[in-house]
Structures are given as C-alpha cells and as structure tokens.
C-alpha cells in the first residue's frame, strides 16, 4: 500500500499540478472575460466596510451612491451626444491597505473602470491611490488629510479634497486668541502615531503653541490600538495642563475622556481631533462629551448649496445621524462625474485634465485643486453640547455659543 503511495506520489503531484494550472487559467480567463456591458461608465471604489474603520466606510458609501444615483436619475452623462448610465462598483477592503491596493487593481483591470473614488484615512487611500497612479486612472478622494496626502509623492492622477492639518491644528489656537480665553497657557498634547496624528500632534501643535506663547508641558504619542492612557493622563494632570489637545481615533477618544474623568482631571479646554467628530462619540460618552471641541470641515448649516438637504436626506434614508464624511465623499463623486461630463469622454487623460480645471462650490465647499492636487476645506470648530455638535468658530458660521470652561 505504501509502495503505491511512494511511487505514485510524484505522478499524482504532477497530475495535480497540471490540474491546478488548468483550473487557475480557467478561473483567470473566466474573470477576465467578465467585461462590462457596453455604453456604461463604470466608477470603482474600495471602502472599509468591515474592520475598525467600517464606520467611515458606510458614510462614504452613502455619499458616493447619492451622487451617482442623482446623475443616473438625470439620464446619465452625455458622451458623444449619447447619455451613458453610470455604474458604481464598491469593494470592501476590510480596513487593510493590502486589500485596498488589490481591490483597486481588480477594479481597473477586470472591471475596466473609467475612474476611481478613494477610501478613508491615509494608509487606505494611499495604498489604492498608488495603484491608480501607476495605471494612470484618475481618482478623486476625500478623507485623506492634505499633508499626509502630499507627503507620499507628487501626484498626477489622484486628487484630494479635505482639510489641511495646519489649518486643523491652528484653528484651536486661533479660536483661543480670538475669543480671548484665559488659561494658564499650559498645554498637554496626546496624539496617536498614525500619519496624521504625527503631523498634527507631533509637529504642528507644539510649534503653534510655542508661537502662541504657550508652554507644552507634555507631548505623548501612542499607537492606535492602545487602550490604556493612565500614565499620560496622570502626567498631564500633575503638570496642571489647562489645555489638552488630543488627536486620536474614536474608540481611543472615548477611552481617553473616560480615563481623564476617572483620574479626576478636568482641563478647561479639551480638544479631541478626529475621534470626537462622529456622533457615536457623543452617544458613547453621554454627558461626558459636553464641552469637548473638535475641528470640523463641514456642517449642514454651512452656506453651501444643498448642505442642509444632504444631511436631511441621509437622516431620512438611514435613520442615523449624519456625519461630515457624507459631504466630502458626495462632493468627490460629483467632481468626478462633472469632470467626465466636461471631458465628454471616458479617456482618462481627458478626465484628469477636466478634474484639474474644477472650480465650483460643491456641497462640501469651494473646490479648486492646487498644483499638489489638493483642495483645502476650510476649518470650523464644533463643540459637543448636550449630544449635539454646535459650530462655535469661526464667528460668522457659529450656530451656538462656546461653552467655557469645559464642564466638570
């Protein structure tokens, strides 16, 4: 019996190898042939629909879909005098940059997408954007802070509309100065070591604090899966910092706020960038969210066309509270669709050239790309008050009064 195994094994291996090769060729051929129906514009996106960033992905998915649905309702995009419907293909990247890259590859090579929309956060956006760049497919994205985006390379086919980290970081100090807020000028900075956290917390905040005549008494960084902040909070408390600036993702933001409270530490000003932005932050914290400041680049109250309607539609359709991410994602998709229409072609070069010429106020604000392929969304500062995000700065856009100092 074993004799048979011993001598038959290589032969069977050979057979199996051949079988495997044939099967894989067949599979590849099958996929490759699954081409698109003609007369259709295909737009692809890879989004984090599962994994830690699934929350962002669902907002973006809604924003992208809404723009495409609107165009299709209007009959599609005119190319060579004929209206072409638009099809959006979304793939899940499981919050994994490797998957984000391979999703974009598949969208380009199998689905023959005309153009692409981005994912969320630098690592996911960049991984996909580099593939788009290599294959010369235009991609418009939001959700990637501009400095982190620019630091990757000089882009040719990828365009980013979002806030700029110095703007975000500077807004807090501007507000403090403008409102004449009195503190002991001691600042503690707690930031994660993701790309944007490093830029905002590691570089810009300390520099701006110094420029504003403040003393940075602590600057601590932590990885994004850290759950314990007791040491750094105790440190900030013992240094008597009255201004605490945090840059972290939502789960950590919630933990940090709770741990500050349980350490008996309550600064006068608490800014939590990034993590304090979604409504789930306030829901998770309840009363503890009161008075927390967070930079925002959008609010339904902003004077942009369709802003209020966008948020209202989202809340009606999904039954959830809206997020500013629906604005940049919706705008990114609209910019791309407008550019295709303007180019009157599915040729990537022509579309790319049309994107470059964008100069229009979308629901997220005025979009005009600079030579770095970025378009800055102006910053505002929101404050959580009784579970609602109130715009408290700049003054001309404020929807409520600043609560100061932060309630205990």
């Amino acid at each position: 019996m074993n004799k048979k195994i011993n001598n038959g094994l290589p032969r069977r291996l050979a057979k199996a190898a051949l079988f495997g090769a044939v099967a894989s060729f067949a599979l590849v051929a099958g996929w490759t042939s699954s081409a698109n129906a003609a007369d259709e514009i295909v737009i692809g996106a890879s989004l984090p629909l599962s994994g830690p960033l699934a929350g962002f992905g669902s907002f973006q998915q809604w924003g992208y879909k809404r723009a495409i649905d609107a165009v299709n309702k209007a009959g599609g995009i005119a190319i060579d005098g004929k209206k072409w419907p638009v099809r959006l293909i979304i793939r899940d990247d499981k919050t994994d940059p490797n998957a984000s890259a391979s999703n974009i590859e598949t969208l380009i090579s199998r689905d023959n997408v005309t153009a692409l929309l981005g994912s969320c956060t630098p690592s996911l956006v960049n991984a996909g954007a580099l593939v788009a760049e290599r294959h010369k497919k235009p991609m418009v994205t939001g959700c990637d802070p501009l400095e982190a985006f620019k630091s990757v390379r000089k882009w040719t086919y990828v365009w980013d509309l979002f806030f700029d980290e110095p703007d975000l970081a500077g807004a807090d100090f501007k507000m403090i100065a403008e409102y004449g807020i009195e503190t002991n000028k001691k600042v503690a900075i707690l930031h994660d070591n993701g790309p944007d956290g490093q830029i905002v917390g590691g570089q810009i905040w300390p520099a701006m604090a110094k420029a504003g005549g403040m003393e940075v008494v602590e600057n601590a960084s932590f990885p994004i899966d850290n759950t314990q902040f007791t040491s750094i909070i105790a440190e900030a408390k013992s240094k008597n910092a009255e201004i605490v600036l945090v840059d972290s993702i939502t789960p950590q933001a919630v933990s940090i706020r709770k741990q500050m409270a349980s350490a008996g530490f309550s600064p006068k000003i608490l800014v939590i960038e990034k993590g304090a932005e979604p409504v789930q932050f306030a829901e998770a914290l309840g009363k503890l969210s009161d008075g927390i400041l967070v930079g925002g680049y959008w609010d339904p109250s902003f004077p942009y066309p369709g802003a209020a309607q966008l948020a209202a539609d989202f809340e009606k359709e999904t039954g959830q509270t809206s997020s500013q991410h629906i604005a940049d994602s919706n705008s990114a998709a609209e910019i791309l669709l407008d550019a295709i229409a303007a180019a009157g072609s599915t040729d990537p070069e022509k579309i790319n050239a049309a994107i470059a010429k964008t100069d229009k106020t979308y629901v997220a604000g005025l979009i005009k790309f600079d030579e770095n392929h970025t378009s800055k969304l102006p910053m505002a500062i929101d404050q959580w008050q009784s579970g609602k995000a109130i715009v408290v700065w700049p003054k001309d856009r404020a929807t409520g009064k600043l609560l100061f100092p932060m309630p205990n």
Partner: protein, 322 residues
C-alpha cells in the same frame, strides 16, 4: 520507477512555471494581477506548509517575516540603487537572520506553546514597528523608486515561486524530509535516533522565513507604501494559515490549491460587501469540518475512490466481514 515519476513531476513543474511566464501574453492585465497575488500566496503557503505540515511547527508569526522583508526592501531601495533581485534576496536574508536569532527562545517551546510564542513574536514586532521612529512609526515608508509594471512584478513572483519550489522540493522530496517528519511525529524519539532536532527545525524555520521575507519584500515593491498595520498585520498570518488548511496541510500541493481557492473567494466576495467576510468564515468552518485534509485531500480521496478497482460482483466474491 520512483525516479521516473520524480522526473515526470519535475518536468510538469517546469512546464507549469514556463507556462506561467506566458500568461501575460494571453490573459489581460487582470489575469496577471491575480496571478501575482496567487504566486505570492503560494510561496507563503508553501513556506508555512514546510513549517507546519512537514516539521510540526504551527507558527502564527508569519506576518513578522513578511513585514521584515517589506521594510528591508523599501529601506534598501530608498537608500541605494540596488537591483531588485538582490534586494529581494536581502529581504529574505534579514528575515532568515531574525528567525535565526529568535529560534533559541522559540524552540524551547513545544506544541501549543510554540504557536502562542510565535503569535507573541508577531505582535511584539508589530507594536515595536508602530512605535519605532526609525521606520516612520505607524506612518511607515514610501518607496521612492519608480513603481514596477504589473508584468515585471509577475515575473519576479514567478522567479520567487521557482526558487521556492526548488528549495521546498529539496526539503520534502529528499532524505531531509524524513528527518523533518521524524521531528514532527516525535521530537524526543527523533533526538534519541541521533537527529539534531534543533538544527532540523532551525533549517525549516530559516528556509520558511527567508521565503516569507522575500515574498513580503515583493509585496512591498508592488504596494509602494508600507506601514506596520498592513505589513505586520495578523491578516497575513491568518490568510496563509487558512489557505494551507483549506488546500491541505502537509500535502505538497495543498498550498497551491488553497491559494487558488482563497484568492478566488476573496475576489468574488469583495464584490459583495453586504455579505462581508462572514462567508469566508463559514467556508473555513465547513472545510475544516468536512475536509480535514483540505480540498486537495478531499480531491485525492475522491480520485482514489473513483479509480479504485471495485469488484463487479462483490457479493459473490467476498466473504470478508463488513
């Protein structure tokens, strides 16, 4: 007889690899991309299969070596103008050196403890890379070198697979395989037979780590941007382990079958984000339950059953008890 079959197998493998090099001519860009992913996964799967299937070292530290390879490649290419093939060897070498350095501690552990130890190693390395400043922390590194074409990547991957096939065949089709399996079956008894178990395990560990490092390097070369969450992520470890288990643990071609299935599944399911990856979970459970030797094992069993000479009129002939 055995020699002839072995020759046939070698010829078949050469033919398959040669055939693969022609793939870009026939399939479109997409085929080449899938091919690249497939090749990377096959190499990783074969390396892990050498460890777990032949040597009994069930490691959950795969991602460590992939990550190391990735960082070495980007670091080297950013620092100097080195040919990519040499850089890939460097990725593998550094991974192998790390394997060598940690082996005295890891090999003190047996069975489950080894598994848990490798898991800790992977996590510790990831946490270190997230915090370390030289490697850009969580932000990682960008590759400055121009990005390669898909076809070029594919050819590098074929080269890597060819190297892996030669090395792994050298381990599994020779006398060394007997030593490997003796350590897998009963390490104590093997040492009492004079087997230098530590060296045997070390050899397998170093070879596997080299291949994982090189594969990680190639993946980084493709991505152009690396950071610790992606390159040192558990996802690699889990993917590689699943593909070997799905394909057939300890079977020479198990990883090949497993990689095809895992890639195919991943591709199809990514199109149906509503189903998410839950289906992957279900499939994994079903395969583990009903195909303990993987899909390949099931296939071989089926083939044996189909080709087995069955007595035409068994009732007349057989007095054998059932």
């Amino acid at each position: 007889m055995a020699g002839a079959s072995r020759f046939a197998a070698a010829v078949a493998i050469v033919v398959v690899i040669a055939g693969l090099t022609l793939l870009p001519q026939f399939s479109g860009e997409y085929g080449v991309q899938i091919g690249f992913r497939l090749l990377i996964y096959i190499v990783l799967g074969e390396a892990w299969n050498l460890l777990a299937g032949y040597c009994g070292l069930v490691s959950l530290g795969t991602s460590s070596f992939i990550g190391i390879g990735a960082y070495v490649l980007v670091g080297v290419l950013n620092a100097a103008d080195v040919p990519i093939s040499i850089t890939l060897v460097g990725s593998g070498l550094v991974a192998a050196i790390v394997a060598f350095v940690v082996s005295p501690a890891l090999f003190r552990l047996r069975g489950l403890y080894f598994t848990v130890g490798t898991l800790a190693l992977g996590e510790a390395l990831r946490l270190f890379m997230i915090n370390a400043s030289f490697s850009g922390g969580a932000g990682g590194w960008f590759l400055n070198a121009p990005s390669p074409s898909t076809n070029a990547l594919f050819y590098y991957a074929i080269g890597l697979l060819a190297a892996a096939t030669i090395v792994i065949s050298a381990c599994t089709q020779t006398r060394f395989s007997i030593l490997l399996r003796s350590v897998r079956d009963d390490e104590d008894a093997a040492t009492q037979m004079g087997v230098r178990a530590f060296h045997v395990k070390l050899a397998a560990f170093i070879i596997a780590s080299f291949l994982m490092g090189a594969a990680g390097g190639l993946q980084a070369y493709k991505l152009g941007a690396i950071e610790p969450y992606g390159m040192f992520g558990m996802q690699w470890t889990i993917d590689v382990l699943s593909l070997v288990i799905i394909g057939g643990l300890g079977l020479r071609l198990g990883p090949v079958v497993g990689a095809i299935i895992v890639i195919a599944l991943g591709e199809y399911l990514a199109d149906y984000p509503e189903l998410h990856i839950a289906i992957t979970g279900v499939i994994l459970i079903v395969i583990v339950r009903f195909a303990p030797k993987g899909i390949l094992g099931l296939g071989l069993q089926l083939a044996r059953w189909l080709t087995a000479p069955r007595p035409a009129s068994g009732a007349l002939r057989s007095g054998a008890p059932r």
